[in-house]
Symmetry: C2
Amino acid sequence: MSRQSGMKPAARLYVEGALAPAAGVALDDGQAHYLRTVLRLEPGRQVLLFNGRDGEWLADIAELRRSGGVATARSQRRAQTPEPDLWLLFAPVKGDRVDWVAEKATELGVARLQPVMTRHTVVTRVNTDRLRSRAIEAAEQCERLTVPEVREPRPLPALLEEWPQQRRLFVCAEAGPARPIAEGLAGLPRAAPTGVLVGPEGGFSRDELDLLRELAFVTPVGLGPRLLRADTAAIAALALWQALAGDGDRRPPERFEN
Amino acid sequence: MSRQSGMKPAARLYVEGALAPAAGVALDDGQAHYLRTVLRLEPGRQVLLFNGRDGEWLADIAELRRSGGVATARSQRRAQTPEPDLWLLFAPVKGDRVDWVAEKATELGVARLQPVMTRHTVVTRVNTDRLRSRAIEAAEQCERLTVPEVREPRPLPALLEEWPQQRRLFVCAEAGPARPIAEGLAGLPRAAPTGVLVGPEGGFSRDELDLLRELAFVTPVGLGPRLLRADTAAIAALALWQALAGDGDRRPPERFEN
């Protein structure tokens, strides 16, 4: 990665538009506000852009208006690479814990965030727009080249019914028989399509656990002797998958300076 | 674990006093308020108590006053077991992220929380009392039999100087050479005394990384290609240690009901 100019790019932003040499790329209102008012940047300054398809690009800010703006893509800095095919299914938890899950799961490289309604789920409404914003922010900050897909909430039985049989589903089970997660992950081929399912604060119901244990694609796993909160369990399981079966042997891109 | 009465203990509390048959145990103001005003309990109801030394005990609430109260220990429900000897050294991060770290690290079984001041640490004051409260809360909720020790902040060089040489220190290094964390942990004897060191949001300085890499007890480890926030890195590294070198093969205590 060569340094194109003496000045470090001032921001890293997720955009919708195509990235190609000299392409004009629309910045939305929030991005224009952030660049103009928070970072106090002028047209001409460099930013990094990614859209989940075309890799990461250096771009010049061309125009910043009160509503929106435009950047001009200059040169590709990183090629697009596929992300690990990892889904997180989580029973929504209260307050800002669910936003925290979206942030951390994005940093830990999930491809899909799927809220799931279970028997003991007490949170009935999930603001998926807010989860999506939080996921975009986290992707911008953690050097990802993609943003995870945030799906609308679905009941657990429906998700299980349409589950792709070749995708293993690790269910974090605090009660009943379960393999230690490290053991469960050890047998998984590197980067195999995977799902991780974490229940609500009250845990899964006995019925749900019985149903899950009958499914050929399910591996119930344990995370040790302490009862983890749902958000902690999700983060722990994702970190373990990446380290043992994902891209944990790769390194972050070299940074411009330290 | 036999069920002593038809009623599930109404709370699980950390206490200072000794736990023995018929011992009167002081409850502090906050605990008395919680039992009396939040849970609306009366004397006679059962609670669970632990003090980090005598295991977990069933106890009857004997007295609840405006300031403090007393419970009477009845019978031991779980014997004291040693916790994994795991320390987390973390550069304090802003706002409530540092409280999160205390909560999650407690759930993930750390024995000691050590705030550490590094070159790029921007947070200068750490409210260790608040961290301690959060750690106690998390220990009560996650079925631990101990509360992690929360130490006062220390500069990195001082901590390294007095470091016990036989305790391996895994340093989460986002820049420069590092082993994938799963590989670094694979060679560790089960439950060996360990430290995990996580830098501040700006990362370690080049000097600090050079110094750390020269120390025989240090293993620099990587957590994959995404730049994790400091709090995410801490949680990921602790979860990995427990699963690969700690007590990840144990299960939570059986619960009273589901």
